[in-house]
Each structure stands twice: as C-alpha cells, then as structure tokens.
Subunit: 356 residues, 2 copies
Amino acid sequence: MSVVQVHTPGGNYPIHVEAGRLDQLQQSIPADATTLALITNPTVFALYGQRVLTALQATGKKVVQVQIPDGEAYKTMATLEQIFDALLQNRLDRKAVIVALGGGVVGDISGFAAACFMRGIRFIQVPTTLLSQVDSSVGGKTAINHPLGKNMIGAFYQPIAVEIDIHVLKTLPKREIAAGLAEVIKYGMITDADFLDWCLAHTEALNQLRDAELQQAVKRSCELKAYVVSQDERESGLRAILNFGHTFGHAIEAGLGYGEWLHGEAVGCGMVMAAELSAEVCGLSAESVQKVRQLVQAIGCPTTPPQWDHDKWIDLMGLDKKAEGGQLRFVLLPELGRSVVQAVDVATVKKVLAKF
Amino acid sequence: MSVVQVHTPGGNYPIHVEAGRLDQLQQSIPADATTLALITNPTVFALYGQRVLTALQATGKKVVQVQIPDGEAYKTMATLEQIFDALLQNRLDRKAVIVALGGGVVGDISGFAAACFMRGIRFIQVPTTLLSQVDSSVGGKTAINHPLGKNMIGAFYQPIAVEIDIHVLKTLPKREIAAGLAEVIKYGMITDADFLDWCLAHTEALNQLRDAELQQAVKRSCELKAYVVSQDERESGLRAILNFGHTFGHAIEAGLGYGEWLHGEAVGCGMVMAAELSAEVCGLSAESVQKVRQLVQAIGCPTTPPQWDHDKWIDLMGLDKKAEGGQLRFVLLPELGRSVVQAVDVATVKKVLAKF
C-alpha cells in the first residue's frame, strides 16, 4: 500500500492507494462515529456496494444507504436536498460519518453535503474513477453545479481519509480512463516535466491499466496535487495552477451541456488550447505544444474543440470562477513543468481560438 | 463608537457599535471588492435601504440588490437558490462582497450564501434586530432550516465585519425587543452574574431603548459572545453553552411551526425551563430559578410553554443538533453565571416538563 499524507489548514489526512482497498475500509472509520451514511449511485452500488457495505458493517455501526442518480446532470441542488432529507429522516447526528463511494459527482456532492449538514460532519472519499482518484477526491474542493455555471456552489472541506482501490478501474469504460489520464498528465505539465516524460514513455501501459504503472501514476498524481493543495488550500495563489486547461475545458462543458463530454476530455482538449495560448503569450516552444497535443492524443482524449463563434467562447469563459473584474485569466506554461496564472486580453484569446 | 474585536481560526474581524452607523458603512468595504451585493427584505429595505445604498455607492462600486421574502418561514433552500440565481445573473465574481442588511434570517441565509458562493466570498453583517445584533451576527454560524429541523444545513463562516447601528432598533415591534433582550440576559446567566444583576437593575431603561443602557447591553453581549466564540469556533466545547435555553426553545419553535413564536421568545421560555432542569439536576437554587423567571418576565418574554404531550417534547428535542447517539443534552446552570453541558435522562426531563 502507498500512503500520501495531505496537510492543509482545514485538516490533515491520509490517502491510501492499494489494490483491493475496498475490503479494508473499516480501518479508516473513527471509533466515535455514531452512524455511517454510504452515498453512492446505482451503477457503482451494483459493482461494489455489497463489498463496501460488508467492510463498513464490520465496524458494528449502523450503515444508512443513500443512492443518488448517476451522472453530472444530477450534481444539483435537488440531489443535495435528497441527501439532506435522507440524513435527517435517518436522524444522523453530528458524529455521523459520510462515506462517498463513486466518481467525481458522488464525491463532490457528498463532500458538500458533509460540509453543510449540521454545519459540518466528517466524510471519507472512496473514488471509483481514475479522474476522481487523481483529482477531485484530493484537496477538499466540494461543490454542485448551477444552471449558470459548473461548481458555482460549494465549499473547501477536507475529508478525513481518501481510500483508493486501483482495481476498481478495471470496470471503467475506456473513455473514462482517457479522461482520468488527462488529469494525470496535467500534473506533469504544470509541475513535473520528468513525470510528463515518464507518462509519455508509458502511455501504452497506462491505457491498458497495468497494475505497477497505474499505482505509480495515481500515487505520483496524488503527491503532486497534495503538495499544491498543502501550499494553498483555498485557491488564493498556487492552487490555481491545477486549473490548467480548465478555463477552456469548463467552457466546452457548459457550452455543450454538462455530461456531453466527460470533464477530463474537456480538460484534455483545453490543455491543448492552453498550450497554444502559452506559445502565443509566454513563449512555450512549438515542440512543447506538439508534445502536449501528442500526449493528449496518445491517452485517447479529443484535441479538437467544438466549432463555436468566438464571442460564444468568450461569453462562456467569462462565467468561469477565475474571471475577476471582467478580465480573462488563464493558467499558462512558460515551459513544460512550470506554470503561471496570467490575464490575457480577449483579442489574443480569439487569435488562438482561430487556430482550432 | 465601541469596537469589539473577534478572533477565531476562521478569521478576525471588528464589531462596530454606534448610533447612526448605517451611514458609515463605506468605511468597512475592502478596496479590492469588485461588486457589492446588498441582501435584505422589503420591510427593512423600506426603512433603511436607501441610506445603506447611499453609503455603499459612496465607494464608487456597483451595488446589486437582492430582496428576499421577510420571515423565518423563508429561511429555506428555495430562498438560498433565489440568492444564488441573482448573484450569478449579475455575474458576481470571487472578489464580490455580500452585505446582509436585516435580522437573523437575512444574516443567516446571506452568510450561508457567502460561504457557498464560489466556495466562499466575503460578507458583512448589518444586523437590524436586537436579537441579531447580540447573537446571530456574531460568531459565524450561518444556516438555513429544513422541514425536519431548524438550522440543519449551514456552515461556520465568519464575516469580515459586523456593523451595528443601535438607532435602527427604534422601529422594531415591542415583541422583537423582548426577544432580543432574552439573548442579552442569557449571556449574564451563562457567563457573567454581575451583568445579569446589571440587566435586572436596568430592565426599564432597556425596555424603553434608552441609548446609553442599550449601547452598554449590546456591547457587553457582543464581548461575551466574542469571548466564547474565540475559544471555540466550531462548537466542539465551550461554545455549546451559548445554547442555554435552546434545546427547549428549538422544540417550541419546531412544534408550533417556525415563526409562530419569535426565536428569542422561545429561548426566553426555554431558559426558564432549563433553569428548572438545572435545579433538578445540578442544584441551581430555587431563588436563582426565580430570578431567571422574573427577568424573562420583566423583559416581556413568555414563561409558560405550549401544553404538549411529554413524548412530543422528547421527540422534538431528539432532532436537536446537540443530540448525540440518542442521549438528550442540555446546557445547565450549577449557579448563575456558570454553565455546563450535560446529558440528562428522559425521565428527569419529563419530571421537569410536568412543572409547566
């Protein structure tokens, strides 16, 4: 088992990465927990629900099940209310613990429910997609969507543990693996050029989910994310670099309607666009842009964005949370492995949009 | 002007107490605020909205108005959504500042909106009821109600300033003054017997809203609350004493339907009940119980609770957030000015209920 320790002002917690971890979850349940609420969706429950229930029930504590609909389209206030209803109908108290079993949607909404329920109860992330294992489950960003923007309503709220079983990835569709690998290679692009080269050398092993390479990639991604988050829990500075590719990516998701492209696919394509913008604005070399494009392609993510009017792009990006006082802000790469946050004028953005 | 400084892990901020403070609000707006969102209700807006708008507009910043319906019955998820819709439609960003102008409902829901909007933006409390001036605006507890319980969904989230104008109390109905004074005398009961005696000696001046006594009572209440909150922001220990009278009080509010009795009225009556329970469980003297009852009566709050079946009381109190693992917990007074949190068995609670 690999353990990555996360340190933030909002709390310290371990990430356990292990094949077969699902059967060991009882190890992370605090002794003083009164009730456990397992939040998941029917798809994940059918695959892993019984194993997780068995592990949780091994603590001797009451386990309440809450199933929410599957998909980004349900990361809404209505689903959040459904969770609160279930928690209150089952009379959970302040010492209850939420266990979020699923991908980013389950993790984000369950974490936000934990943040708000009675002003905050403990929760554990058990991410079952590659994307959520390397990204959304680590760092304490929780949220729901609003019709006017993704993740607009949420909280910074840390779990007490993240439990990663890399074997659950074997039941994922190929598209979701590609979407998760997009975030893996992102860590290389923004912070670690060596890891980026390692990824480039192992795309085949990663695409085929070979245990050793997968464990290494997940662990390194969590380490890099944990490092960034520990420096800046509330995204006032460094943490913003984790949004590399996300300004374009969020626009793609919002413009097509959430769920049309997977988040990681949109980010994958967004990274190619942000690399082109980096070349235009801060001198990223043409070879480096090519390397980004090649890697995004090699892991099976799209590199061609939807063909929209440029004003539609600008409009969609203007609602992004990084927009401050009317300026468009992007994470850019002066070189591979190093990233900066910078304001870019609309004309330059449109010039880059014209290349796609 | 009196200034009380609040120190918590979640942030430090000043409470300004001053007659005419409404016209000085621009002094507390941060220079880097992009947009200001004034959240209030039509009743308060009619009385003070224009003055506050003038003060806020003196900063030269754009001010967005959000009016929400008046009353505890609207401290709901639906109203919260209305606020989010308005903030997003007006394209507020992460550097926007919310100004909450109103009583506890406006303050609690606006604070919770600020806590969740884009995972947290700054907000300023401008409480316009006595209750909110001495209680809900200080300490960072924000929340909305759920059909199954009061304040069940919320966050610990600190404002950047609390702005108290004691002159706004002159337009309040007598019942609301009484409800606010209930919380004022509560601070005496739980932490400061001298202040309790001072209140007893000045009930007439307080009931008549005389400037000097009112300023003193509000300032001392804020100081005592700030002290407790600074010791324990997240209610894991000491802060629980602020809930003196609230276990019974919340049951009254939930059982009658929120808004039937004012929160402070329910707490006033709840304090008399909790005093009787203290006599039964931890030896509060009969004379002290009598003093509590006399003071609650002198400020004009009810001292006789609704006549319900005892099991209904127990059931209503079981949903209170202080219930842990099935036990009923109460804040009790071994003597006036000193408080403890203690589990009490149901039979003893019923014995005390029989006295009312």
